[in-house]
Amino acid sequence: MSHAPEHDGEKEEKVLESWERAPLPERSPLIAGILSIIPGLGHIYIRQVYRGIGYLLLSLAMAGLTYWAHITTEFEPFPGLITVLLILALLFWAWVIVSAVLAARQRRFAPAMGLIVVLAYTYILGWQATEVNLQKFFTEFPDTFNIFTRVMWPWRAAFEREQELLIARADFANPCPEEGLPPQEPGSGDEAWIVVEPNCGEFARYVLGEGVRPGTELTVRGGGFLPDREVEIWWKDPIGQEFRPIYEGETISAMTDDEGNFSVTFGAPQYETPPQAVGVQIHEVQARQVTAIGALRVSENLELAINRMIVTIFQALMATSFGIVFAIPASFLAARNLMYGTLPTRIIYYVTRFVMNVARSIEPIIWAVIAAVWVGLGPFAGVIALTIHTIAALGKLYSEAIESIQPGPIEAISATGATRLQVIVYAIVPQIIPPFLSFTIYRWDINVRMSTIIGFVGGGGIGQILFQWINQSRWSAAGMAVWLIAITVSVLDYASGELRKRFV
């Protein structure tokens, strides 16, 4: 673009000069270079004003960001980061100077180079500022894998069976009474039974300087349980507290044989008898067998998630409906073709537009925080938040539909001798109903998606329990909620797409 035209004489030269960034009058490359000590000034001098301002702003941004990277405590910079940034900034500076000098001589200087320097600067700093850590990303994934699989496939926790508890008890005395105790008799028949041998003795005890002194070794035998299932040993003290005793670091359990009998040996647990207890204390040893029986049923978590999902869908429905009620009148006030005629209506038009724009630019999640303060946590807060956003969004879309009405049908229906009301019903309404419906369905779709998130900040619905479950690390439950949301949203997305196709 620099060389002068070689043919056709003066006329073409003039044409070219009028659009080329030619120096008129001639600009000195030397002055351009010197002025570029302040980046951009040189370009402004050679009449490339916008380019010059752009370079100046870019340079200021680079200088400011480099300083910020130096002083900030937001992240841990890798060694030499500041040096690298400084070098890039200086490279850019140098590039601007050279480019100004060459531009004064109507030549361009490797524009790609300037761009590459700026991009390198941006992404190096961006990588650091957002603390991108690929090492963590890959090496620590396996730790997440358990959570990840439970979220992705939570359905094992979605169903459960009714549980039956088989329980058998036997007494254990501490200390052994002087007269001794009669040995326990094994049970018979279908009832579950256990015996403890011996049925009295000492608990494990912590002795200063010696450590834990083990308790009497006990053997628990039992029968009448379901075959080939686990039996847990529990302990109940004289004041009725139940606990699972620990023996050698593990809770105690045994497997029944194919006739439902078992036997397990362990030391009496560590137990501090309160000093005010006098005489022989009777404890109870229990053998418990928990069995799942009956048909599969929906787990409590899944049931809760489903309930909340339904609430969420209704939240979206209510918010959309309330939104429509207010958006329709608002949309007429915001329709240019209806309101632009006289000054007062034009003022109303601008005010309505402005209010709707502000309301729309504030995310529903922020409205939800405000609404939760206003009416308390729960679904209603979510409905308020979504309603406000819906009014603003639908109001705008509706008003655009009104603005795009064709005047032709109005004229044609009037010409048939129709009344004003008939003209509205036959010429205007058919034109606005389909877009209104389409926008409304679309909005409901958005509201369902939004209401799941709004629960995170106290807007009720499924988002609220999802947030709870995530905080409690109940990944299967959270996974079920996530799945329900995904299923609902995609079904609605598909349905609304189909509906909209029919109306538009």
Binding site: Q406, G408, P409, E411, A412, I413, S414, A415, T416, G417, A418, T419, L421, Q422, V425, Y426, A427, P430, Q431, I433, P434
Partner: protein
Amino acid sequence: MLKVENLTKVYEDGTVALRNVSFEVADGEFMVVIGLSGSGKSTLLRCINRLIEPTEGRIIWNGVDITAAKGEELRKIRRQIGMIFQQFNLVERSSVLTNVLSGRLGYINPLWSLINYFPREDHERALAALKRVGLEDKAHNRADALSGGQQQRVGIARALMQEPKLILADEPVASLDPVLAHSILGQLEQLNKEDGITVICSLHYLDLVQRYSTHVIGLREGRLVFEGDNEDIRQMTDERFKEIYGEEAERIGTGSIMG
């Protein structure tokens, strides 16, 4: 008999669309209005059914002053005047049948019409009208699914529903290709000849004017600059032609496009 007397229309922005235009149309005529775009043809047609309010002058139709009519009376006049438009002006998202039925709105009980109820005989009338324009199988299509020529025929069917004594046609074929133009104007001619409906039609193509008109008026900058019959148009000289279309207009051979 339609009598237009000293009709003048000045728009709010000061544009003078019609200046003191007077003419008469006998019943059963096929009258064509010619003139450049912006010469006042559309304004003139719309003054006749008062879609546009004339500023001055009177329009008398069979002894009734249309310009003085108000409310109910005006609607009763309008329902006897069918109108078809260059852009067809159908409600595109409604069905063809609904569009045709809407031609009946001036006759039926307004309350019933609000819930989209039309008497049985109106349905039959609508299907008959569609049959007449050759679209009986399109009754339940959406209007915008039809081609331009078909949409204009729906427009004619809608006008027919009004049992009109007069049809105003504002550039009915300007959006259509020449073959379709003959088909549409043929339909209008048939209504004119068979049913005795007076037609007032604005047109652009000279050969169409020669072929269909029985009476022609020419407008230029809102003034009536020509009035004659079909024969006058056939024999129109270049000077006369330029009076209507301005000095810069050239006649491009016989049967050519004007304006």
